[in-house]
C-alpha cells in the first residue's frame, strides 16, 4: 500500500500521549495541540496526571497522560476514546488501553517493554495478550535505541539524550497526520535559545521520528483532518486558568481599577495566581498569602481600598474562606472568588475534576448569606465568565463566586481573540470627594447596590463591619432593621438577574427530554445531545452558566419538556437546587463521581433509557 492509499480523511481524531511523569507527555501533547491549532483544526485537550510530583517510575500510579481531540468541525470535548495511543512504557498501556477505540493504533517504545517494566506495570506476561489488544494496530518501535543512535555524535550525556525520546514519538505522530515540523522546531529555538546543542538534539530526534514513520511499512492508517471552518479572526489556544486570569485583567482595564489577587496556591487553581503574578507589567498586585483565609481577607482589604479584588482557590480552600466570604456579603464589598473545583471531600482527589462544590458555594456560610454564583463551561469561556463575575461584583457591590473545575482549568481549546474595546463597559459606584453626609448603606434604586467610598477620598470617612448595621452604618440590634437588611441583601442578589441573559437552549424549544447541565460538562453534554438529535430524538440541552440568580426564563424552559434530566459530576447538587427553586417538576438525574469527565456515550445511553421509561 502506498501512503495515499492509506490516508483516512476524518472529521475528527483523538490522540492520547502517555508515559511516565518524567517522559514529558504534557509538553508533547501541548506541542501537538498547538501545531494542529496553527493548521486550523478545532480542538480540545485533557491533561491527566498523578497527584505525586514523580510517582515511582514505570508504575501505573506514575502515568501521565495528555489527550487531544482535533477536528475539522466544532470540537467540544477531548473525546471519550482515543484513536491513537502513544504509550512510552507498559504502565502507560495498562492505564490507557481501555480508553482506546477498538481497532485503534497504539504506538509503543518497544525498548521499554522489558520483563521488569512489564511486571512493574502489573502485567504477568505480554500486555498485548493480557489486555486482548490483538485487534489493535500496534506500532512497536525501538524508540530509545533509535534516539541514542540519532544523537550519538551530539556529545550529550545519556540522561539528556533520553529526555528527547518524547520528540521521537511526536515526530512519528506528526507524520501520521502529515503535519509540518516548523512550529515545533521554532519552539525549540525559543525555549532553548541559550543552549544550541539542545535545540539541535531535539530537532534531530523530532525529524528522526518523522522519517522513521515514513520509512517503516507498518505505519497505517494516516489521518488527514482538514482545517476546521471556523469563524474568521485571530486565534490562539488557551487553557481555563489562563483564560480566567485574562478575563479578570480585562475587567480591571474596563473598570479603570487596579487588579489585586490575594491567594494561596492549591491544585488545580494555582495557575491563575501564577499567571497573574507574571502580570506585574499590567500593574497586577499579586499577594501570595499565608493561607486561604489571608487570601480572601487581603482581597477584602484591597476591595475596601478600591481595587478590583480577587481570590482564587479550590474546594478545601473555599471551605476555609467561608467565614470571610460572609464578611464580604455583610459589608457589601465587590469581590470575585474563583473556585476551581476538584475531587472531594476533604483532600479527596486533588488532581481530578468534579463538580461537587456547588452547594458549598451556594450555602456554605453562616447565617442568611446569599451570594451570586456563576460557572464557566469551556476553557476559553472562562475569560467571559471571569469578566462577567468582576462586572457583576463591581456594579452590584457584591461578592461573586465563579466556579470552574480541573477539567476546564487544565484543558485547552482554540480561542478567537477578542478586542477589549468590544467588551461591555464596567462602572463601579465609586463616590467622589464631597461635604454632604455619606450614608454607607444607602442603595441604588435599581440594583440596590450601595456606594463605594474608598479611603483617601476626602469627606467620605465612614465605618463598616461584620455586625448588623442600620442604613447609616450604626451597629444595630433592632429586630426589624435586621430583617430588613437580610431581605435587602437577598433582593440585591436576586436583582443581578438584570445582567443575566435568558437561558439558551440547544435544540428545539420544546420536546421529550431536556438535558440540563452546568459548568464544565458543556462539551460532553452538547456532543451527546447532538448525537441524540442526529438519531431523531426530541432532546434539547439547557446548559447553565448563571446559577444564582438563575436566568429569568428558567421556569418557562422547564415546563416545555416532558422529561427533565440533570447531569452532573457529583451526587446531584444542581438538581437539589432546582428542586428547591421549582416545586412543580420531576427531575431525573445522571451522576458520575469518578474524578473524570462524562463520556458522551454514557450520557446518550442514560438519556435513551429515560426516554424509553
Amino acid at each position: 500500500m502506498s501512503k495515499s492509499e492509506r490516508v483516512i480523511e476524518r472529521e475528527e481524531v483523538v490522540i492520547r500521549f502517555s508515559g511516565d511523569s518524567g517522559d514529558g507527555m504534557q509538553l508533547t501533547g501541548t506541542l501537538f495541540s498547538n501545531t494542529s491549532a496553527l493548521f486550523g483544526n478545532d480542538l480540545s485537550t485533557f491533561p491527566d496526571y498523578p497527584a505525586e510530583i514523580r510517582a515511582p517510575q514505570g508504575t501505573v500510579g506514575g502515568v501521565s497522560g495528555f489527550q487531544v481531540h482535533v477536528g475539522h468541525s466544532e470540537i467540544n470535548t477531548p473525546g471519550d476514546y482515543a484513536d491513537i495511543l502513544v504509550a512510552m512504557n507498559p504502565a502507560a498501556v495498562k492505564a490507557n488501553s481501555k480508553f482506546v477505540r477498538k481497532g485503534g493504533t497504539i504506538i509503543i517504545d518497544e525498548d521499554n517493554f522489558t520483563e521488569k517494566n512489564i511486571k512493574k506495570a502489573g502485567y504477568e506476561s505480554d500486555p498485548v495478550k493480557e489486555d486482548k489488544l490483538d485487534d489493535f494496530n500496534i506500532i512497536s518501535a525501538p524508540i530509545s535505541t533509535l534516539v541514542k543512535e540519532t544523537l550519538k555524535d551530539h556529545g550529550l550525556d545519556p540522561k539528556t539524550v533520553m529526555r528527547t525520546k518524547n520528540m521521537f514519538a511526536l515526530g512519528m505522530v506528526y507524520w501520521l497526520f502529515g503535519r509540518d515540523l516548523e512550529y515545533t522546531d521554532d519552539y525549540f529555538k525559543g525555549k532553548f535559545s541559550k543552549r544550541p546543542k539542545i535545540i539541535e538534539a531535539n530537532s534531530a530526534v523530532l525529524h528522526a521520528g518523522f522519517n522513521y514513520a515514513e520509512t517503516i511499512d507498518a505505519m497505517s492508517p494516516v489521518y488527514k483532518v482538514s482545517p476546521a471552518s471556523i469563524e474568521k479572526g485571530l486565534y490562539r489556544t488557551i487553557d481555563g486558568n489562563t483564560a480566567t486570569s485574562w478575563g479578570l485583567l480585562a475587567a480591571a482595564e474596563k473598570s479603570g481599577l487596579d487588579l489585586f489577587i490575594g491567594s494561596y496556591p492549591i491544585t488545580p487553581a494555582s495557575g491563575i495566581l501564577e499567571s497573574l503574578a507574571a502580570r506585574k507589567n499590567l500593574g497586577v498586585k499579586s499577594f501570595q498569602a499565608e493561607d486561604e483565609i489571608a487570601g480572601i481577607c487581603t482581597a477584602i482589604g484591597a476591595s475596601f481600598a478600591g481595587d478590583l479584588a480577587v481570590t482564587t482557590t479550590s474546594g478545601p480552600g473555599l471551605a476555609l474562606k467561608s467565614e470571610a466570604a460572609g464578611l464580604a456579603v455583610m459589608t457589601e464589598l465587590p469581590l470575585v472568588i474563583v473556585n476551581v473545583q476538584r475531587g472531594g471531600p476533604s483532600t479527596g482527589l486533588p488532581t481530578k475534576t468534579e463538580q461537587s462544590d456547588l452547594l458549598q458555594a451556594l450555602y456554605g456560610r453562616n447565617g442568611e448569606s446569599p451570594m451570586v454564583v456563576i460557572a464557566a463551561s469551556t476553557p476559553s469561556d472562562c475569560f467571559d465568565y471571569a469578566f462577567q463575575a468582576a462586572r457583576i461584583a463591581l456594579e452590584h457591590m457584591v461578592p461573586v463566586i465563579l466556579l470552574t473545575d480541573g477539567f476546564l482549568a487544565n484543558g485547552s481549546e482554540p480561542w478567537k481573540i477578542p478586542s477589549v474595546k468590544d467588551l461591555p463597559a464596567i462602572k463601579a459606584p465609586l463616590v467622589k470627594e464631597g461635604e454632604d453626609e455619606f450614608i454607607p448603606y444607602e442603595r441604588d434604586e435599581k440594583t440596590l447596590a450601595r456606594k463605594w467610598a474608598v479611603p483617601g477620598v476626602k469627606g467620605r470617612e465612614h465605618r463598616i463591619g461584620g455586625l448588623e448595621k442600620t442604613v447609616k452604618g450604626t451597629v444595630s440590634y433592632i429586630p426589624e432593621n435586621h430583617e430588613n437588611m437580610v431581605n435587602m441583601r437577598a433582593e440585591k442578589v436576586a436583582r443581578v438577574v438584570s445582567k443575566v441573559p435568558d437561558q439558551k437552549i440547544y435544540g428545539d424549544e420544546e420536546g421529550d427530554l431536556l438535558l440540563i447541565g452546568w459548568g464544565g460538562t458543556y462539551g460532553h453534554l452538547l456532543t451527546a445531545v447532538r448525537e441524540l438529535r442526529d438519531k431523531g430524538k426530541k432532546v434539547s440541552l439547557a446548559h447553565f452558566n448563571y446559577i444564582n440568580p438563575l436566568p429569568a426564563n428558567t421556569g418557562k424552559i422547564l415546563s416545555s419538556f416532558k422529561k427533565i434530566v440533570v447531569a452532573e459530576l457529583n451526587a446531584g447538587q444542581f438538581v437539589k437546587y432546582l428542586r428547591m427553586e421549582f416545586e412543580d417538576f420531576k427531575f431525573y438525574q445522571i451522576n458520575k463521581i469518578q474524578g473524570l469527565p462524562f463520556t458522551c456515550a454514557d450520557i446518550e445511553d442514560e438519556c435513551i433509557k429515560i426516554l424509553e421509561e
Binding site: 486550523g40 490562539r236 498586585k285 489571608a294 481577607c297 482581597a299 467620605r460 470617612e461 465605618r463 463591619g465
Partner: protein, 338 residues
C-alpha cells in the same frame, strides 16, 4: 506619603458614635491617646484607615472619624495588609486584642510582621478575652483562674515582644493605657516608622481582669516597676532615678546607682541595633526582679513589602512591551483563520 499638611485637634477624630466600653475600661484612655497622636501627625484625615478584628478593643474604629473597618475575629492583619498594598499612600492602622492578634489571628500577625508591611498595630493586652466575658488568652499568666480555667491555666503565655522579634519584627514598643502622654508619643513614632510597627498597650479590663497591670500603673509603684526606654539614653529607672540596667556577661542585671556605679556604667538604649539580642531581653524583663520595659524597644529600618511590591510593578511596567490586555492576549503563538 506625600500630602499637604493640615491642622487638627484630637476631637476632630472623634466620630458621632456612642462609646460603649465599660466605664473605667482602659480602652477609653487609648482612644484619647490615639486621637491626640493622629492630630499631631498632620496627615489629611481621609488618609487614615483603621482596621480591627473582633473584641472589646476592636470596637475602636467606630469611635474614630476616619475610614474604619470592624472586620472578623483575628483577620485584621490580613485585611490591613490588603488595604496597604492596594493603596500604599494610606496610613493604615490595625486595632487588635491579645486574643484577636495572638490566638485566632496569630498567623496573619506573624506574617504581616515578617513581610514588614507598613501598618501600625496597636495591640491591647488585657490578658483576657473581654468581649466573650472572661476566658483566658494566650497572654494570660500561667495559673490564671478564668471562666475556662477554673483550676488555673497550665500553659505558658506568649510574650508579644518576643513573638514579634521571632517573626522578624523591626519595630516593637510597649506602653500602658494609664500613661496617655507616653502612648501618644509612641503611637506617633509607630506611625512614622516605615514597616510593621507593633505597640503592645497594656490595658486594664475592669470587669474580667481588674488590676493585672496594677503595679505598673499605680502612682506609688509604677516608677519602680517600669522603665521607660529612650533612644540613646541610659537605662535608668526608679522613683528616685536610682536604679539602672547593666550587662552581666550576656544577661541584664539591675544595679543601684551610687557606691561606685554611675550613669556612664549603665547600658544605653539602642533601638536601632539590627541584632535583636538585647531587645529580646528588654522585651522579656518582668517583675519581680526587673522593671517592665516601656517605650520603643526596637526600631530598625528595612524595606517594606508594599514599597518593594509597588517598586517591582513600576520597574516591570517600564520595561515591558505589553501595555494593555489587547497586547497581552496577542502575545505568543496565534494564527489567523479566514
Amino acid at each position: 506619603m506625600n500630602q499637604e499638611t493640615v491642622e487638627y485637634s484630637p476631637k476632630d477624630f472623634k466620630s458621632d458614635q456612642e462609646v460603649r466600653w465599660c466605664p473605667g475600661c482602659g480602652d477609653h484612655a487609648v482612644l484619647s491617646a490615639v486621637t491626640r497622636a493622629l492630630a499631631e501627625l498632620k496627615i489629611p484625615k481621609e488618609q487614615f484607615a483603621f482596621i480591627s478584628g473582633i473584641g472589646c478593643s476592636s470596637r475602636f474604629p467606630y469611635y474614630l472619624d476616619t475610614f474604619g473597618f470592624h472586620s472578623i475575629h483575628g483577620r485584621a492583619s490580613a485585611i490591613a495588609s490588603g488595604v496597604k498594598v492596594a493603596n500604599p499612600d494610606l496610613s493604615v492602622w490595625q486595632i487588635t486584642g491579645d486574643g484577636d492578634s495572638m490566638a485566632i489571628g496569630g498567623n496573619h500577625f506573624i506574617h504581616a510582621i515578617r513581610r514588614n508591611i507598613d501598618i501600625n498595630i496597636i495591640l491591647f493586652n488585657n490578658e483576657i478575652y473581654g468581649l466573650t466575658k472572661g476566658q483566658y488568652s494566650p497572654t494570660s499568666q500561667k495559673g490564671a483562674v478564668t471562666k475556662t480555667s477554673p483550676f488555673g491555666t497550665v500553659e505558658e503565655p506568649f510574650n508579644p515582644g518576643e513573638l514579634v522579634i521571632g517573626a522578624k519584627g523591626k519595630f516593637f514598643a510597649r506602653t500602658i493605657d494609664t500613661n496617655v502622654k507616653l502612648s501618644t508619643e509612641i503611637y506617633k513614632m509607630a506611625a512614622l516608622h516605615e514597616g510593621t510597627s507593633v505597640v503592645e498597650t497594656l490595658q486594664n479590663c475592669v470587669i474580667f481582669n481588674d488590676g493585672v497591670h496594677k503595679l505598673l500603673s499605680d502612682r506609688e509603684t509604677r516608677d519602680d516597676y517600669t522603665i521607660v526606654l529612650r533612644q540613646g539614653e541610659p537605662m535608668i529607672f526608679g522613683k528616685d532615678n536610682d536604679k539602672g540596667l547593666v550587662l552581666d556577661g550576656l544577661k541584664l542585671k539591675v544595679v543601684k546607682l551610687g557606691n561606685g556605679i554611675s550613669e556612664k556604667d549603665i547600658l544605653v538604649h539602642d533601638a536601632q541595633e539590627n541584632n535583636p539580642g538585647v531587645h529580646l531581653m528588654l522585651a522579656n524583663m518582668k517583675n519581680p526582679g526587673f522593671p517592665v520595659a516601656l517605650g520603643v524597644i526596637r526600631s530598625v529600618a528595612a524595606p517594606t513589602y508594599d514599597m518593594a511590591l509597588n517598586g517591582q510593578i513600576t520597574k516591570v511596567k517600564k520595561e515591558t512591551k505589553i501595555k494593555n490586555v489587547d497586547d497581552l492576549i496577542r502575545t505568543g503563538s496565534t494564527w489567523e483563520s479566514q
